[in-house]
């Protein structure tokens, strides 16, 4: 029971991470295509400026919880996907630096360099997270000693790649909607156009990813065993439809919330299908990392649950407050501050 609770909390942390960091990664991915001049670039940077750092902590928390609640999964997953995770890490490092450093020197080359890092640092994590999670859903070649028998390039199988492209588009749409909330004028109109253009792509990719999941993974087994679970799929499907509905009304906030619902729904579709495994082995089901063979001791899980139940709601409260405080539409004076990016 405790292990199962932690399994779903683990899934929830990833879902919240995708929902939050997803839009700033998406905005960074779209930046070279969406921003036409320096002012528009700065609007994009400052749209996510007050949030990206706090959003990224959800990744640290998700990683930390994997370590704390399922140390063996953490060990096998992180060493097994060594190169992919290191690539993700470098991308995030360069991206984080680009926020802080870009505005510090008035030079086209300097800014161009950090714009490139911002793009790569946003696009690559979106892609890699998608590839990684698709491979987690499918399983990796873990042997009896918890060692992954296949290299980096094996992750780039058709299903892994589909997951990667799916995440990139999902985050890009999420980011376009956010830019639509935070900006006005030309850039807002362009953000709406991007979102409208990305929506059918995302809809197709969603259908493709679900169909491929049936072929490549065992995610649907839990649903077949317990058909009522299929109702969960209504959440992402409903979210997807509502994005388009609110986009039609140019209600960006509601469209963004629908997109958030979609992302959380998609994540939970996978998490529910995965249960009770955290990382299936493609070599032998007995080598899979599960909530029983990889979890921490009962005492640790209990203490961590106490910590999570106290602190996570507090975090959500103050982050919500921060979103309220800085959720306004950007104006010229916001860009004129010397603290602005």
């Amino acid at each position: 029971m405790l292990e199962s609770t932690w399994f779903f909390l683990w899934g929830l942390l990833w879902a919240v991470y995708f929902m939050l960091d997803g839009f700033d990664l998406g905005a960074g991915t779209l930046m070279p295509f969406m921003a036409k001049n320096e002012t528009e670039k700065r609007m994009m940077y400052n749209s996510v400026g007050p949030f990206w750092d706090g959003n990224e902590v959800w990744l640290i928390a998700a990683g930390g919880v994997t370590f704390a609640a399922f140390p063996k999964t953490y060990a096998v997953l992180f060493s097994g996907l060594y190169s992919a995770l290191m690539l993700l890490l470098f991308a995030l490092i360069l991206r984080g630096v680009s926020f802080e450093f870009r505005s510090k020197i008035e030079s086209k080359t300097w800014k161009g360099f950090f714009d490139l890092l911002q793009f790569l640092g946003s696009f690559l994590p979106a892609l890699l997270l998608g590839v990684a999670f698709a491979n987690i859903f499918m399983g990796i070649a873990i042997d009896a000693n918890g060692v992954n028998q296949e290299g980096l390039f094996h992750l780039l199988n058709p299903y892994g790649l589909a997951g990667g492209v799916f995440f990139v588009v999902m985050f890009a749409l999420h980011g376009a909607l956010w830019i639509g909330i935070k900006t006005q004028g030309d850039i807002k109109l362009r953000a709406v156009r991007f979102a409208v253009g990305l929506w059918p792509v995302l809809a197709c990719l969603t259908a493709l990813f679900l169909a491929m999941s049936a072929g490549f993974t065992e995610l649907f087994q839990n649903y077949i065993d317990m058909p009522v679970l299929f109702l969960v799929l209504l959440v992402p499907v409903g979210g997807l439809i509502m994005i388009r509905h609110f986009l039609g009304q140019i209600n960006m906030l509601k469209a963004w919330i629908s997109s958030a619902v979609f992302i959380v729904g998609v994540t939970f579709f996978g998490i529910i299908g995965l249960y009770p495994k955290l990382l299936p082995s493609t070599l032998d089901p007995a080598y899979s990392m599960t909530i029983t063979n990889s979890s921490s001791s009962t005492l640790t899980l209990q203490i961590m649950l106490g910590v999570a139940l106290v602190f996570v709601p507090i975090v959500i409260l103050y982050q919500f407050w921060a979103y309220r405080t800085f959720g306004h539409v950007l104006e010229q004076k916001d860009l004129d501050h010397d603290e602005a990016y």
């Binding site: 400026g49 007050p50 949030f51 750092d53 706090g54 990224e56 902590v57 640290i60 928390a61 990683g63 930390g64 370590f67 704390a68 609640a69 140390p71 063996k72 953490y74 060990a75 096998v76 997953l77 992180f78 060493s79 060594y82 190169s83 995770l85 290191m86 890490l89 470098f90 995030l92 490092i93 984080g96 630096v97 926020f99 802080e100 450093f101 510090k104 020197i105 000693n145 918890g146 060692v147 921490s296 001791s297 005492l299 640790t300 203490i303 961590m304 910590v307 999570a308 602190f311 996570v312 975090v315 103050y318 982050q319 921060a322 405080t325 800085f326 004076k333 501050h337 603290e339 602005a340």
Partner: protein, 436 residues
Amino acid sequence: MDVLMLSRLQFAVATFFHFIFVPLTLGLSVLLAIMETRYVMTGDETYKRMAKFWGKLFLINFALGVVTGITLEFQFGTNWSRYSEYVGDIFGSLLAIEATAAFFLESTFIAVWVFGWERLSAKMHCVAIWLVAIASNLSAVWIILANGFMQHPVGYVIRNGRAELADFMEVVTNIFAWNQFLHTIFGAYLLAGFFVMGISAWHLLRKQNIDFFTKSFRIGMWFGLIFSILVAVQGHHHGNEVAQIQPAKLAAMESHWETQTYAPMYLLVMPDEENETNSIQLLGIPGMLSILAYNNPAAEVKGLKDFPKEDRPPVLLTFLSFRLMVGLGTLFPLLGIWAFIKRKKLMENPLLLRVMMYAIPLPYLALEAGWALAEIGRQPWIVYGLMRTSDAVSPIDPSQVTMTLIAFILVYGLLGALDIFLLAKYAKKGPEEAKA
């Protein structure tokens, strides 16, 4: 090179680099909070300009501290998976608590502080920087409790082939860890004090913004003075603890080979690990090592020869880190006292100002040496007495680690250079003009 050596090098690069930025974050966040509190209480705009000027340097530094911190969390899984599996029950939960209870707070409110100058009331804005300061210091508590477990494991039981949590209170009240925490935090505050003094001195030597930088210098001076004394006093106490809990580390720190009572301390020593002796050993103070270790000249201090070779830390590195840390640690209170005496006549003491300016890197060296001592001196153990570093490494291909090690050196080298360049640029630029 094998995976073990490569992973050790990579961990060293990642940790030393990360720790360049951490102490300034810990100390300067508190100084910023003090500056802004004075602004809110007195309404004196100088203190607001101070918070903004030092805040800019803080943020340039903070960015690298944050991004390089992610590396450390990842590395336990990528490079030290056997370790993660063995102690994750305890170590992992401390890291997870750090993220939930401290890092979220720090990352959310630093943005509130940066973007909130016009959107929040002065009081609320000041609260934001206090939350950042408290959160970053709390962060250090949890991280060092985790490291403290590696230094002096407590509150665990070996079960199911791994170390499992037996008593959470014992883990979080680990006295050794708390002393490490105090030692680190005092060092960090001292570093921030010297940083502020040094940059202020640069401007004062050029007679720019004299009022602004005199006030800044004095705030830095109090921090530098108080914490350079505290870190030395508490460091001695922590040393006693090391003598009892990690006797092999103590012996290596002093390159002390033969077990003896009335153990002397030599001012000039050159360890010779191969022949298990010191090639140079001069200016001995009788009984001093016994006093330093046990506060008693007659106390017996165990020598390295009484530890099996495979249980000894690398002597030369441990010894040099300790000497560097202690040598500099002795210098800081003297500099602090000098600055204190001349605090009202700074402009008439260009020598003091020049010395303080050149002293900026010294606390960095001392703090890095301190961690080198803590970590290298703990070898060959990753968890003292419980797990060897060689048993902790991930079963991965060395070529992968070679690639990432090179990448770390290149990327971190570039980022470090850019960071120093920007810090210097904005430090020299000075504060915004006061509003007329």
